[in-house]
């Protein structure tokens, strides 16, 4: 590190602050205005918000139904390989054998070998990715993903279709409520990345016309596990 540059910039900041006019500055930052609670169940709010950002929702009552749903969906698409988080992180017992019986294998989203490019090229043709959200944000229809050795970023990025499993008890009203939840701040540094996904990849750069699937997945499927109410 260039110690001179660091010292100079810090000193410049301190000098500037003695002359800075900062309207609205106060001694303490007050708490943000709190959002009123939703009148309806969070799952219903989430469903509407996800649809508004072009995501697709698949409600299922329990983990077994989720496994059956994924197997059928992928068989129908002719999928043979799925780029996935570690099965242990998915909490879908019986997923691997059920898929194996249909000739589908889970490929871990990892990059550890000596030839990074070769590995990426090997993973690139896999048609579907599978993750399990660590939280869902009802108001915005977002899912929260974490990244670590068992939770590869590529699973939600490289394939053109992304399936994410979410449980109704993981739903929070909104981003602010999730960020304030106990444990979020404490666990934060365990993950090299935290990604909030709100709908499939999109662009509107050309003539301000919305197009899905710019660089990331063009389809986002959320399998929501929980009792329907």
């Amino acid at each position: 590190m260039n110690e001179t540059a660091r010292a100079v910039v810090l000193e410049r900041i301190r000098q500037a602050l003695s002359r800075a006019y900062l309207p609205a500055a106060s001694r303490l930052t007050p708490p943000p205005p709190s959002a009123p609670p939703f009148a309806e169940p969070l799952a219903a709010v989430f469903a509407r918000a996800l649809a508004a950002v072009y995501g697709q929702l698949h409600p299922v009552p329990d983990a077994d139904a989720a496994v059956a749903f994924l197997r059928e969906a992928w068989v129908a698409r002719g999928v043979r390989q799925v780029l996935s988080w570690e099965p242990a992180c998915l909490e879908l017992p019986g997923l691997e054998p059920a898929l194996a019986a249909a000739g589908i294998v889970l490929v871990p989203a990892r990059l550890g070998g000596p030839d990074r490019r070769a590995e990426l090229n090997r993973l690139e043709p896999i048609p579907v990715g599978l993750t399990a959200a660590v939280a869902g944000l009802a108001r915005t229809g977002s899912i929260v993903l974490a990244a670590d050795r068992a939770r590869g970023r590529l699973a939600s990025l490289l394939p053109p279709v992304h399936y994410a499993v979410l449980r109704t008890e993981q739903l929070y009203p909104d981003l602010a409520a999730w960020l304030a939840a106990p444990g979020v701040r404490r666990e934060w540094a365990r993950h090299s990345s935290t990604i909030i996904v709100t709908g499939p990849s999109r662009t509107a750069d050309i003539a301000q016309t919305l197009t899905l699937g710019a660089h990331g997945p063009r389809e986002l499927h959320v399998v929501l596990i929980g009792p329907s109410d």
């Binding site: 990025l157 304030a180 090299s192």
Partner: protein, 468 residues
């Protein structure tokens, strides 16, 4: 005519640009209004965000020290750069020392500000922009004309012709075909790149994370597939806590593109923690001053509250008519006409603060309610003090000031001007369509209201005399 006036005149006669601006500006404005209205307590949230930005800047040095400590604990390397040249040299050195050849970039206005691509190319490095709009800018050797929608000045047919030439798509290709062609071309580059370069929408002090907001997902690729990630962060971008960045992220997405949240909000908290995890092996964070401390020292510090949403561009009557290129600066629109002179001094940018009617639409649209007209008046005053104003303006104002404190002279002047205007050629409904000398600028595009034959004070005297 000055540079800005010349470019603005050209822009006003550019049919393609006018079509593009007409179609897109209202689309952005309506999207923002709907999204802000959908936020619970949207207006109170804006007030709150303004306080967050003010209070953060008030302790800027402390927040960066906290950020630096936490980022280093996460395994990121933190560098500091005093100016553009130092920032560019750092990136080139990091690339060279690690044998980097191919670089992919996601959209970063700071990298435009420091002309990073030029420095990388001069250093023998291959650099590719991966945001679709920026990719098109790079292919056509153009400049972005909007801080959120870089090619808002281009029509579909312009892009189709460009892709036909470079990517072999049919000359009449539709938008999904063009997007798919760019996706395929850039996908290959993502998998081959050695280094990814990004900006940062925010840096979170309490976690040492940087935050990137993208819709396309290119920002995620750039920070996942290459083995090295370099993030350029302007020193106004820090936010103390996760809770505070949550507030700003909602307002940014709503104000920039009318979304509840952007598609991908990515927090990067260091390099991969394990040798077979799929993130980058190294994360370098470069904190760039480049004039920001100069902006902080004084009346223009408020411009650093900006979260770069572009909402002020979309509502500005000047931007909506002339587009971004007329400004001749990296940052166009209301934010640009303050931030460019705030960072670099008035020297190169003394014309820009004039490119406003002071209508205040920018402040009304700004998610953190930055008072841009106030700072424009400061800059205009400074440009007179520093001798940038036209000579006639200086003595004209002196003459006016002298007359204004001599009531008899003032009355005589008013009486003379009202009589003299009768001699002017060109009238419609009594309005003057031509004024002489430096005043001709006003009547070049609009009429000037007639001066009343009777002054206000004369009229006041007369009416008061009639009162019982």
């Amino acid at each position: 005519m000055s540079g800005f006036e010349q470019r603005a005149a050209q822009a006003l006669h550019d049919v393609g640009l006018q079509q593009a601006l007409r179609r897109t500006m209202d689309h952005f404005v309506n999207g923002r209004l709907r999204a802000i209205a959908a936020l619970p307590h949207g207006e109170a949230l804006r007030d709150h965000a303004r306080v967050i930005r003010a209070n953060t800047l008030a302790r800027l040095d402390e927040h960066w020290l906290t950020f630096e400590r936490n980022a280093q604990a996460n395994g990121s390397r933190v560098h500091w750069a005093r100016d553009a040249a130092e920032a560019c040299d750092l990136v080139v050195a990091i690339a060279r020392e690690r044998g980097v050849r191919r670089i992919v970039k996601s959209k970063s206005m700071l990298s435009e500000e420091i002309a990073l691509n030029k420095a990388l190319e001069a250093g023998g490095l291959e650099v590719l922009e991966t945001d679709l709009g920026e990719y098109i800018v790079q292919l056509s050797r153009d400049h972005p004309s909007h801080i959120v929608a870089p090619i808002v000045h281009k029509r579909l047919e312009d892009v189709a012709a460009l892709f036909h030439e470079h990517l072999g798509t049919p000359p009449t290709a539709d938008i999904p075909t063009l997007t798919a062609a760019a996706r395929a071309a850039l996908r290959r580059s993502f998998l081959q790149a050695d280094m990814g370069i990004t900006g940062a929408n925010f840096a979170v002090a309490e976690t040492g994370s940087i935050v990137l907001v993208t819709n396309e997902g290119n920002g995620r690729f750039v920070t996942t597939t290459p083995r090295i990630h370099v993030a350029l962060v302007g020193i106004e971008r820090v936010v103390p806590t996760l809770a505070e960045v949550g507030t700003l992220l909602q307002l940014l997405a709503a104000s920039a593109t009318g979304q509840p949240l952007s598609t991908y909000t990515t927090f990067i908290t260091g390099p991969r923690r394990h040798p077979d995890e799929d993130g980058p092996e190294e994360v370098h964070i470069i904190l760039v001053d480049n004039g920001r401390t100069q902006a902080l020292a004084g009346d223009l510090a408020e411009i650093l509250y900006c979260i770069r949403c572009g909402a002020c561009l979309n509502v500005c009557p000047v931007y909506r008519n002339v587009g971004g290129h007329a400004y001749g600066a990296v940052y166009p629109g209301p934010i640009g006409i303050v931030v460019n002179p705030a960072l670099d001094g008035l020297g190169p940018w003394h014309e820009l603060p004039q490119a406003s009617s002071l209508c205040g639409a920018c402040t009304e649209a700004c998610p953190v309610r930055i008072d841009i007209p106030r700072m424009l008046l400061r800059l205009r005053a400074a440009s007179v003090e520093q001798g940038y104003a036209a000579g006639w303006l200086r003595w004209g104002l002196r003459l006016y000031a002298w007359a204004a404190v001599h009531p008899r002279l003032f009355r005589l002047g008013g009486w003379l001007a009202a009589r003299a205007q009768r001699l002017l050629p060109g009238k419609r409904n009594g309005w003057n369509l031509w004024l002489p000398g430096p005043l001709a600028g006003w009547t070049a595009t609009r009429g000037f209201p007639p001066l009343a034959g009777e002054s206000f004070s004369a009229r006041w005297q007369r009416r008061r005399g009639r009162r019982p």
